[in-house]
Amino acid sequence: MGGLASALAPIAFVNETVLRLGRAVGVVAIALMVIAILIQVFFRYVLGNALPWPDEAARFCMLWMTGLMAPTAFRRGGFVAIDMVPLMLPRVVGQVLTLFLLVVSLAVLLVAVNIGWSEVTGFGGKFATAALYLPTSFGFDEWFRIPRSWMMASLLVGVILLISVNIELVLRSVVTLMGGGHLLPEIPDAPAGAE
């Protein structure tokens, strides 16, 4: 039990720290999404000039917001589930079932990370985005066209973070199953609901 608890502490610390950073980037991303679409509306209807980039830029931000913020929701118990059966079962059976469900989730995520890596580094990731460029000189006369893989990496990063959270939850579940639930530190903040 002591070994498990000491394995849990660094994972919990890493998750807490990385996810806090992820939330901060996510907050910026959602703000940028709004700004990009408002610019699109302004240019199209006020200046009569339809810009090519706001749509794709906003989608870029939305994908990263999702990848970086969904793991926080998962850690806080915010992934929608019908949890009646685990709650109705005798305590130990319910905890075994919870552990089983976490293992199934982990299996899904491991398959996803494998496919995600080959997608990002593979053929599809080699294409460029349609309208997203980054300046590569101070004079704004040289531009780098952002590759599509930068967008696709959002889901891969999200899956990796979900795996990290899942491992923490599995360890917490094992500790609880072994009767050490009272030793576990609380995961901060209330559940984030999906509705």
């Binding site: 939330r23 996510g26 999404m33």
Partner: protein, 429 residues
Amino acid sequence: MLIWFLPTFLVFLIIGLPVFFALLAAPGILLWLNGQTNDITLLYRNVYNGMDSFPLMAIPFFMLAGELMNRGGITIRLVEFSQALMGHLRGGLAHVNVLSSILFAGLSGSAVADTSALGSMLIPAMEKQGYTRKFAAAITAASSVIGPIIPPSGIMIIYAYVMGESVAALFLAGIVPGVMVGVGLMLMIKFMADKYDFPVASRKYTWGERRQASLKAFFPLLTPVIILGGILGGIFTPTEAAAVAVGYAFIIGFFVLRTLTLKEVPEILSNAGLTSAVVLLLVGAAMAFKTVVSLSHAPEQLASLILSLSENPLILLFLINLLLFVVGMFLDAGPAIIILGPILGPIFTSLGVDPIHFAIIMSVNLTVGLATPPMGLVLFVAAAVSREKVETIAKAILPFLAVEIVVIFLITYIPAISMTIPRITGFAN
């Protein structure tokens, strides 16, 4: 063999696997057993492509707009406006609760936001006036389901995206059903007020006072006009309208009402982002799930199963309403739509039911499920806000649920209720 992914999915769901993982695990396992490993890659691609969507961006935007409005003190202005109109009636505060929900629904597409925002204000006020706490919590929960029916509506954006329908058409089709739920609840309140001698909330407001309350609520009440007017006028797409609603809520909160501070902004953005991220992942998984639904020919097989029960669409709609109601008791509206939309939608469309009409039947039914025991989400929120037991609220809400069930059947069997506005405006055939 692939058809077995549906029972596998149900088993996963019932034993408590989060919907996101169940949507991927069940088809994934079956594809693997079937030797279709390349299609597992397709599942992943569809999750990504499902999320990479411009129309879907309306979800975080509407959530953000609702959050900004709520924090910006707009709720209290809506309640004061409702009180000026209906506070003098017997059972006045209960009527105010319902009218506030109708008005709030035009700003936010979430029943949970409605329950927590209006409940924290109106439940204590109702208790102070002599209503029982369980009644106050029950009417708050029952009326909050209007939120996702009247536009803007998060679940309708999801349905439209997953099923390839027009968001504008669904928004328009939800207006009359949402108002009908509100009017039905008010009629029930009137009946109960006369029977149980409910209190009157306040003296009758003078027209001058009503005008004053209207002016204070003017800017918030303009939001749905901007959203729907912009979409109908062809000025904005629904996503752009949602972004404009965010900009509008920001300007109102900061510069007009001056109730928001910059310090609050990161938390508001974070709340909207967290909630949206879960929904967006779910929608992505639903798009992947939908691919396997098509590959497995499940709708055709289910259609023949359903048609073997009866070939009369009216009877089938009755049965489907029962199924949706039971599902709504256990699962939130959003995930339920994501799961059942791709399966049931094509079946009923092939039976001659208009896809917009079916979308409204499904949305309203599953939204009412948010207030039904044992797993209705807004019952739990109402319990937390009122500090009343869920079981007690679940009993007190029954008369209001009865009203909502009647409305569901009226919507089901009189398509004109939902279809007239989309047809008049040219958004449906």
